[in-house]
């Protein structure tokens, strides 16, 4: 939040302290959803929770295996968002699993970064994965590359890397903007198996068109819980399904009230308290 925005918000306050108007409904929904997620995280410790398979995630192993057989590298792009972005965090979770498998199979991994704070985090994750696999000597600093802070300078650098290195697998999980199509098309052009995931609905169609597998929207978050095959984390996916049930009930309630009581906005007013 910028300091200018904070000043504007401060000037709009009714009192010295209190709850921000219009956010109480969100707070209640957050508590309800948080309850379900934590409940299922705890339930998953006691019993196995069934989660449907995501083909894109199963294909990650296949893609790394292909790169190993072909003797070509795997490229990984954790998006171009900031370190605090949830999509970037998902990208880091995916990277830890990908790096672990690359270390086990002795496959060359190249990580391409745009954000200056994501760079050391990705370097740490890859180094950690190689250390855990007992192959510290196989890790080198040029596996994790910082390209440029400018969006299209980064895109140009990444496209050049794809063309020069000819990866057999290109994995892109994180926050992407307009460069998504360029990365996916050039990855396709060099013949890489491509798996991508983004929560940006403006970029998902590009990934769907140009990649072999795509994690659409919330599948990115679910995938981050699922990829490590940790049964406890997969429990949270069941918890978030209850959130979707709640959203569906609210939508149905809204449709019924709008149909029976036209012009009455009690439900939306209630949610916007």
């Amino acid at each position: 939040m910028s300091s200018v925005l904070i000043d504007i918000l401060v000037s709009q306050r009714p009192r010295a302290w209190g709850l921000w108007p219009g956010r109480i409904g969100s707070l209640v929904l957050l508590f309800v959803l948080g309850f379900f997620v934590i409940l299922y995280l705890r339930l998953a410790r006691k019993r196995k929770i069934f989660i449907r398979k995501l083909p894109g995630l199963d294909a990650v192993d296949e893609a790394i295996g292909r790169a190993t057989e072909m003797g070509q590298p795997v490229t990984f792009v954790p998006g171009i968002g900031a370190i605090g972005s949830l999509d970037t965090m998902c990208g880091l979770v995916f990277l830890s699993e990908v790096a672990k498998r690359c270390a086990e199979l002795d496959t060359r991994l190249i990580v391409l970064n745009r954000n200056v704070l994501v760079q050391p985090a990705t370097a740490g994750i890859v180094r950690d994965a190689f250390r855990a696999a007992g192959k510290t000597e196989k890790f080198s600093e040029d596996m994790v590359r910082y390209i440029a802070p400018d969006q299209f300078a980064f895109a140009a650098g990444a496209l050049g890397t794809f063309k020069r290195e000819k990866p057999a697998a290109n994995l892109m999980f994180g926050a992407f903007w307009a460069e998504s199509l360029e990365l996916a098309e050039v990855g396709n052009d060099v013949g890489a198996i491509q798996i991508a995931g983004s929560s940006s609905m403006a970029q998902v169609p590009f990934f769907v068109a140009a990649c072999d597998y795509c994690l659409i929207g919330e599948e990115l978050y679910a995938g981050a819980a699922y990829i490590g095959r940790d049964p406890i984390l997969t429990g949270s996916i069941a918890g978030q399904d209850w959130g979707k049930v709640l959203a569906a009930v609210l939508i149905a309630l809204g449709v019924i009230t709008a149909w029976l009581l036209p012009g009455n906005k009690w439900l939306s007013n209630l949610l916007l308290i």
Binding site: M1, T88, Y221, Q240
Partner: protein, 230 residues
Amino acid sequence: MSKLVLSDLKKTVPMGIAFVMGIFGAFAYFVYTDPTDAILQNAIVFDSVMGSMGMAISLGNISLIHGKNVQRKRKGWFFSVLILVLMYFSLIIGLGAKKPYLGQQYYGLFDWGTESIGYFLVIAIMNPASTTVMSLLAFYIASAAYRAFRIRGIDSAILLVSGALVLLGQAPIGAYIFGPSLLDLKTWILSVPNLAGSRGCSIGIAVGSIAMSIRVLFGYERKPVLGGLE
């Protein structure tokens, strides 16, 4: 024993900071007080400081990678020389530009009068190069559309028909050929099935992001916070 304690601290301290700051962020979103504003203001400054430190690390990374390329005379090593020269040249220009230019918030350390060179680097080189790479999108969209619109089944056939209708509806020639009913059809496709699907995805993303935040905040998902400290 002391090693064990140190490795535990390496994990618990970042997790603890992430938890406290995460809870504080959520609290500040819902509750307003003067101290929360003051902390938020400081957090912005802290973010800038972290960014500067990260930039120094990234500068080192670029120098290392391209330095190795030059040292080992790898294929295309000349481009690495070019990158290193231009990068350090821009750094020197930036450090010497004390007076503000191009609406920057941060200025150089020394008054070497390099503002005009900095201005030239951004306006005459950086911006056109960036725009050129962006404009490649036009060609990539065409090739992606070709692949997306190939009929492989009922789904892609529906995509092709609806895509063609929206495309014709957006272009002036569509209404000229098929009349205003095409515009109504385009508007309906965009505002009913398209919007419904998009909102469904948005609701899923909102719910998924809350679940992910809870996993990170309560330490179930440790990788994003710990990085390589595990």
